[in-house]
């Protein structure tokens, strides 16, 4: 019996990227029907922004305008981190549970493609979250004081860090039994990671135990870096540390996730 297998389009070498792009489109299409996680990625940071602004604005910085210049960059980082921290891991977990992953794994595509596709879609989601937050920040009076390139750099750093951090949740999503567990882990990790940082106030002003944590929390470096770039001040070592942390998270968790996902029992 002869069978005609579909002809390949484009070079084999790029197949994984092409398949990932197809799966990223799938993920985005699902988002448009079920925008909850993305909305959450914008609404949660926006709420924190407004809340902190009116709660801490005067006491911390004297005026809300000055405080917004301090606060907004951290909110941006929160937005980029949150959009992916929760959605990627739980989406992958759902696919594993309801058999979609079985179908993908029985197709002649790389086992990296579904993970990479999901994370690629996330990058787009972070970018949207970051853009919307920039708009909200501007409405509230935030002004970029660095150059255009610095501002793009800040957005880029926030998105890059979100991308690398999302591999942690992807790994968790592959390991745990239910999507609810992914959400729970994401939520528990959210508080110390995003709030136990330089988000609301410089870490020198934090109580000792919190300061010790915020000092080692990589999110602090990302927020410091974005803050410096957006306010046109010297970022000192924070940009380098952000890049280093991003690379480290990616280098550890991407292979772990890919291996756990591709493993046959």
């Amino acid at each position: 019996m002869t069978t005609t297998f579909p002809r390949t389009t484009g070079p084999r070498r790029l197949a994984t990227l092409r398949h990932s792009a197809v799966l990223a489109r799938r993920s985005l299409a699902k988002t448009t029907r079920n925008p909850g996680p993305v909305v959450n990625g914008v609404v949660t940071p926006a709420l924190f922004m407004v809340l902190f602004l009116y709660l801490f604005g005067r006491p911390v910085a004297g005026t809300t305008a000055d405080y917004l210049q301090y606060l907004f960059p951290g909110i941006l980082v929160m937005g980029a981190g949150l959009a992916g921290m929760i959605s990627t891991g739980s989406a992958i977990n759902l696919d594993l549970k309801n058999g979609v992953t079985d179908r993908f794994r029985s197709l002649p595509i790389s086992r990296t493609a579904p993970l990479l596709g999901s994370v690629m879609a996330d990058i787009l989601r972070y970018t949207v979250a970051v853009a919307v937050l920039f708009g909200l920040g501007a409405l509230l009076g935030f002004r970029v004081r660095g150059g255009v390139l610095d501002a793009l750099g800040a957005a880029g750093l926030a998105i890059l860090f979100g991308f690398c951090l999302s591999w942690v949740t992807v790994y968790i999503g592959v390991l745990v039994k239910s999507a609810d567990a992914v959400l729970a882990v994401g939520f528990v990790a959210f508080l110390p990671l995003q709030l136990g940082s330089s988000l609301a106030a410089p870490i020198e002003t934090l109580p000792g135990w919190l300061r010790a944590w915020a000092d080692v929390n990589p999110v602090t470096h990302v927020m410091d870096a974005c803050r410096a770039l957006l306010n046109g001040t010297a970022p000192a070592g924070s940009v380098g540390l952000t890049l280093l942390w991003s690379a480290a998270l990616f280098a550890v968790f991407c292979p772990l996730a890919v291996r756990a996902y591709g493993r046959q029992e």
């Binding site: 579909p6 389009t9 197949a15 799966l23 699902k30 029907r33 079985d102 179908r103 002649p108």
Partner: protein, 318 residues
């Protein structure tokens, strides 16, 4: 060229201390349908997942389309397709997008993927629903779409794991026709089921699995010879007619019916001619029928006669 669509030799698969499959051998010639029949927990899904390259066997030889799936899973995946126990189409997407996506993943160009999707949508009677989100589909439509998704790449071997679970009789009948269509197109099919009736309706050969082992195999005719063929089950509307009804059944079938069940009687019949004869005579004698069935032995009855013990675990699939 290998003549088997797929074959499994002495397959062993353990999960921790559970031996899910303990030395199973089965094969289907190209273009045939093999029914894998067994109760819940028998190891059917495990066999399917090993064949579909989703699980690595602990021991044994596994080939699909002549390809050793342990040595060359990538090449095997180009020839097979899976429609799992739970349908795996995306609820949020339309039926068409689901199929186009699979086509794109199989490296079809945009236009070819659309054309293939259109072909399958009309073949599976889904044109009208093609652009609706799958969330709005009925169980039967979902299953048909899942089957269509499996066929996008024109696989030579298709694994169907309990495809009719959750379908109403109409949906099941439609599904059966699609599966028969596959076999006509020369596709080799492995179909798992908990119902002898389904295996009988679709399979060229049946393998019966229990506790991870093959306890019987053969054509449906062989198997029915072994476990008994059709039976008639009858309950007169008026219990007072029971003796007269039993006498009619005894006269037609040549042996006394089993009257151990409450209010009714059960007897083996040699084909539908005897069945019709009985119904005609009942009618002729003015006996009103309360319940009447012409059926194959249930899985329980199959197991009872094959093993002397009832099927181990027949609760609803999880």
């Amino acid at each position: 060229m290998d003549d088997n669509g797929f074959e499994v030799n002495e397959l062993i698969k353990r999960f921790g201390r559970t031996t899910a499959v303990g030395g199973v051998t089965l094969a289907a010639p190209r273009g045939r349908v093999l029914g894998l029949l067994g109760p819940n927990g028998a190891g059917k899904t495990t066999v399917v997942r090993v064949l579909a390259t989703l699980l690595r066997p602990d021991a044994g030889e596994v080939r699909v389309a002549g390809i050793d799936v342990r040595r060359d899973p990538g090449r095997a995946r180009r020839r097979i397709a899976l429609s799992g126990q739970h349908t795996s189409v995306d609820d949020e997407l339309s039926g068409r997008s689901n199929l186009v996506m699979i086509g794109r993943l199989l490296d079809l160009g945009r236009r070819d993927a659309r054309r293939r999707a259109d072909e399958l949508l009309s073949r599976f009677g889904l044109d009208d629903a093609a652009d609706r989100p799958v969330a709005t589909y009925s169980g039967g439509m979902r299953r048909r779409l899942d089957l269509a998704a499996a066929l996008v790449g024109r696989p030579e071997v298709v694994f169907l794991d309990e495809p009719s679970v959750g379908l109403d009789p109409g949906g099941r009948e439609e599904l059966w026709q699609m599966i028969r269509g596959l076999a006509r197109d020369g596709v080799t099919v492995l179909l798992t089921t908990q119902y002898l009736e389904e295996a009988d309706a679709l399979a060229d050969e049946i393998t019966v699995l229990d506790h991870g082992r093959v306890i019987a195999s053969g054509t449906p005719a062989d198997l029915k010879r072994e476990v008994g063929g059709h039976t008639i089950a009858l309950r007169p509307a008026d219990a007072a007619d029971l003796d007269r009804a039993a006498a009619i059944v005894a006269r037609v079938t040549g042996r006394e019916p089993d009257r151990s069940r409450r209010h009714g009687l059960v007897a083996p019949v040699a084909g539908d001619a005897e069945f019709f004869e009985i119904t005609a005579r009942l009618h002729g004698s003015g006996i009103d029928v309360g319940e009447l069935a012409f059926r194959l032995p249930s899985l329980d009855e199959v197991f009872l006669s094959l093993t002397g013990a009832p099927a181990t675990d027949t609760e609803e699939a999880a």
